[in-house]
Structure formats: structure tokens, C-alpha cells
């Protein structure tokens, strides 16, 4: 059974360049969806279990939520 693709947001650590992050995510086979340069946040998509991946270039990784309500 195919694993479900999920969207995540990674907060880039201070002192780490986006170029470096891009290389490492590509090496991990993870697709970058968007880079927010003003926020230094990367949106990416993967079906991998991110608990098992060491993102030493992110200070935090959060899964996309869809429960924001009025």
C-alpha cells in the first residue's frame, strides 16, 4: 500500500543557508515545494516517516494542519 504524501514546514537554523538545506533535502529524496526567504522557512512534501530523519539543519519541523477555523 502506498504511503500518503504529507506536507511539512521546516524552520531553517541560524547560520544555515537555504542552498545547504536544498542539497540535503534533495539527497534525502525530499521535494521542496516552496522557500519563504523572508521567513527562512521551507515547505516540503514527503511520504517518509520524518521521525526517522535527522534534520540537523532545521530548528523545527511541523506537519501541515488543516484545522484552522473562524
Amino acid at each position: 500500500m502506498d504511503k500518503k504524501m504529507k506536507i511539512y514546514f521546516g524552520v531553517i537554523k541560524n547560520g544555515t543557508s537555504f542552498k545547504n538545506v536544498k542539497t540535503k533535502l534533495t539527497d534525502l529524496g525530499i521535494e521542496i515545494l516552496k522557500y519563504y526567504s523572508k521567513l527562512r522557512i521551507v515547505k516540503f512534501e514527503t511520504d517518509q516517516n520524518i521521525e526517522e530523519i535527522e534534520f540537523d539543519f532545521f530548528s523545527a519541523v511541523e506537519e501541515e494542519k488543516d484545522d484552522f477555523f473562524i
Binding site: I7, L39, I41, E62, K65, D66, F68, F69, I70
Partner: protein, 420 residues
């Protein structure tokens, strides 16, 4: 080309003087007594000669050297005592006079229009005598002349009903972050209501005022679908857009509930900090999950981030609203910063379904939040040198504690305008 003619006044008209004159200026002088219809003065004069008018003691002479005439006047031996260039005289022309008057009237009309424009545009402070909705009274709107002029206030919500009559003539910029739905329509109505509180003005039927920063620049981002639901992506995309556009205030009347002792989102903490670094203040609803008095629940995401201002709701009796979330995750973050009117708040609304008017009453921390956003715009206009962090501090410092209400529920208190 016409020659210059001169009128020359003589001290005497004796023969010697006339001959000297003829010799000095190489002219032949004819006395006026010899003029006739066959010997007209202008013919004589035009032939570089002169005519002497004995009775007047003067002579008209054509095309002589003016410097030489000046020297003669200075010379006491010369009979010439004065001279001047011949002048031109015109008959009075009625049409020309009327045309001149018309020109004068046009010039006067332009002056009057200029004066009228100056008077109409003069920034005269108008006395505040407009009736205010209860929420505006509660925050002291009657005590300020500021209107958020020039401040970009961005409301991220369900969109905005651009056809609402109260916003006719306003320039509103917007963008949709929801696929297939437009920012300038609001079938839900929530976004139009929130935008009305923060950036509206007066009702077009009763003239009662419900909007705070009536002269601010309203910016709209549609981040919630027509059903009133949104994702992290739509919100982050819109905040990134707003910061890139250098908007000063982001108003978020949306919330995602959290569990007891759940840590605040580092993602939104980062976003709030980056916004402040870019001189942009994010203000968010505390959330409506509580069932008071027995069960207050914690402040939702994103308001629970320290870098995002969290807003609770009160009613018109100065009681905390039964649904308003509280700072009960204090150990991990998520305090309330301020409170604002959020129960039975009237604002703009699209005409739809049972609502045949342009206004409805709604309740929620969603309604409290745009009160703070509107007030922040007034502060930013009033204190243009302050940055977003300083404006935040000023809002909290000027908030009014409410008797018997806890910091946990209302933070620093009910927001207030600063007199001015």
C-alpha cells in the same frame, strides 16, 4: 519698419535756432502754417524731415539720433530743452474691453476654485459627534481624531465582499490563497465582518460608526475557504505575502485548538518574530473553545506564540466572554495579551440568505481581534516613529484592567485609544 519719431520741445523758435537744428540733425523743418491737404504733416515727417508747430513750441522730427538729442538737451546753447519718443494712442474698442473683462473673469474664477479646493481639503478637526457601536465606545474611540490614515492593515480571513456599499470608493488590494476561490467575494461573511471592525467607518443607513481605522489601507488575503476552514500553507503563504508587501498589521481572526500543556508552535513563533523584525505586528484571536465559567481552555495556535499578540473577548458588561480562551498553558507559553469587545459586535456583512441588510451581530474572539488591529493602525499613525514591537508595548501599557477579571483571562486589559 516704422521709423522712430520724436517730439522735441524748443526754448525758442527764432530763425537761427531752426537753422541750427536743421544743420545739426540734417533735416528740413517745415512750419505748421504751411501744412495743407497737399502738404500733409505725416508726408513731410516720413521724408526724414520735421514739422514745427509754432503755437505749441514744439517740433515733430523723424528718425534722428536719440543720443544726439540727449546731448542737445544737456547743451545750454541748444534750443532743445526736452524730447520724448512719439507714443501710440488707440481708440477705445468695446469688444476688446469685453474680451479683457472675460479674461479677468476667467482668472478670478480660477482663483475662486483654487480657494474652494484649499478650504475643502484643509484638515480641520471635526468634532466627534457620531454615535458609536458599544465596542468603539468601550475602547474610547470618541477621544481620538486618528483614523489609521496611510497604514496598511491586512485582514487574513474568508475574503471580503467588495460590493459592500460602505467600502465603495475605497482602494482595496487583495489576494486569494485558496484555490478556486476569489478574495473579493465572501460567501461566508466572516472576513467582511472582521474587515469592517478594523477598517470600516459608519453604517450607510443610520450613520452609526462601527469601524475603527476608517482611513487605513485595507489589504485582504483569503486564507480560509468559504466554509471557514484553512491550512498552515494558506496562512504561511499569506503572511509571507503581507511581509513582502511591507504591510504593518496582520489581523488573524482564526485559530486551531491546542491541548492542555501543548507547547506553542515553533513555526508560528518564528513567523511572528520575523514579522516583528520586518516591522509588522501579527494580532490573533485567542480562540473560542472555552465553556465558561466551568471550562476555560488554552489559547489556540497561532495566538499562543509569544511573538503573536493574543486577544480575548469581553461583552458589553465588561465580563469575559463565555467562549474566550485563557492563558492556562502558562508554563509552556500561550498567555492572553489584551482583551477587546467580542460579544454581539455589529459590523459589515454581505447580503445573503436571511440577511437582507448589510450588517449583522457576531460574537467571538474573531470580533475582538480586529478591534486591536484597528487600534494598532491608529497608534501607528499617531506615533509614526515607533516600530511594531514598540507599538505592541504601547497597546499593552495603555490597556485598562477590568475589575474582578484575571490576567489569565484578559491579559493587560481592555485596549484603549490614546487621547489625541
Amino acid at each position: 519698419m516704422a521709423n522712430n519719431r520724436y517730439i522735441v520741445l524748443l526754448a525758442n523758435q527764432n530763425e537761427k535756432s531752426i537753422r541750427n537744428m536743421e544743420k545739426e540733425f540734417s533735416v528740413s523743418v517745415t512750419s505748421s502754417e504751411y501744412l495743407s491737404k497737399d502738404n500733409r504733416s505725416f508726408d513731410i515727417i516720413d521724408n526724414n524731415n520735421a514739422v514745427l508747430y509754432k503755437n505749441l513750441g514744439m517740433m515733430v522730427v523723424d528718425d534722428v539720433d536719440e543720443k544726439q538729442l540727449s546731448m542737445s538737451v544737456s547743451d545750454s546753447k541748444s534750443p532743445i530743452v526736452y524730447f520724448e519718443k512719439e507714443r501710440e494712442f488707440y481708440s477705445a474698442d468695446e469688444i476688446a474691453l469685453i474680451n479683457d473683462l472675460k479674461t479677468d473673469i476667467d482668472q478670478l474664477k480660477n482663483k475662486i476654485l483654487e480657494l474652494e479646493s484649499f478650504i475643502r481639503n484643509k484638515p480641520i478637526p471635526k468634532p466627534v459627534n457620531t454615535e458609536l457601536e458599544w465596542g468603539l465606545k468601550a475602547i474610547g474611540m470618541g477621544n481620538t481624531q486618528f483614523s489609521g490614515k496611510g497604514i496598511d492593515v491586512c485582514v487574513l480571513d474568508t475574503g471580503f465582499e467588495i460590493s459592500h456599499p460602505d467600502f465603495a470608493g475605497r482602494t482595496i488590494e487583495g489576494k486569494s490563497f485558496i484555490e478556486g476561490e476569489e478574495w473579493d467575494k465572501d460567501p461566508n461573511g466572516h472576513g467582511t465582518h472582521c474587515a469592517g471592525i478594523a477598517c470600516g467607518n459608519v453604517r450607510n443607513d443610520t450613520g452609526k460608526r462601527y469601524g475603527i481605522a476608517k482611513d487605513c489601507n485595507l489589504k485582504v488575503g483569503k486564507v480560509l475557504s468559504n466554509t471557514g476552514r484553512g491550512t498552515t500553507s494558506s496562512i504561511i503563504d499569506a503572511i509571507d505575502w503581507a511581509i513582502t508587501k511591507k504591510f504593518r498589521i496582520i489581523s488573524l481572526s482564526l485559530a486551531s485548538p491546542v491541548k492542555l500543556n501543548e507547547k506553542p508552535s515553533i513555526l508560528f513563533e518564528t513567523v511572528g518574530t520575523k514579522a516583528l523584525d520586518n516591522n509588522c505586528l501579527i494580532i490573533a484571536a485567542a480562540g473560542n473553545d472555552s465553556k465558561r465559567p466551568s471550562l476555560p481552555l488554552p489559547v489556540s495556535v497561532p495566538a499562543n506564540s509569544l511573538s503573536v499578540m493574543a486577544v480575548a473577548a469581553i461583552d458589553n458588561q465588561m465580563r469575559v466572554a463565555r467562549f474566550s480562551n485563557a492563558g492556562i498553558n502558562a508554563a509552556t507559553g500561550g498567555n492572553i495579551n489584551v482583551c477587546a469587545p467580542g460579544v454581539d459586535v455589529l459590523s459589515s456583512y454581505p447580503q445573503k440568505g436571511a440577511n437582507s441588510g448589510n450588517y449583522v451581530l457576531l460574537s467571538g474572539t474573531s470580533m475582538a481581534t480586529p478591534h486591536v488591529s484597528g487600534l494598532a493602525a491608529l497608534y501607528m499613525e499617531q506615533f509614526p516613529d515607533l516600530n511594531a514591537r514598540e507599538i505592541w508595548k504601547l497597546i499593552e501599557n495603555n490597556a485598562k484592567p477590568i475589575e474582578n477579571l484575571k490576567y489569565r483571562d484578559i491579559g493587560s486589559g481592555l485596549i484603549q485609544v490614546i487621547h489625541g
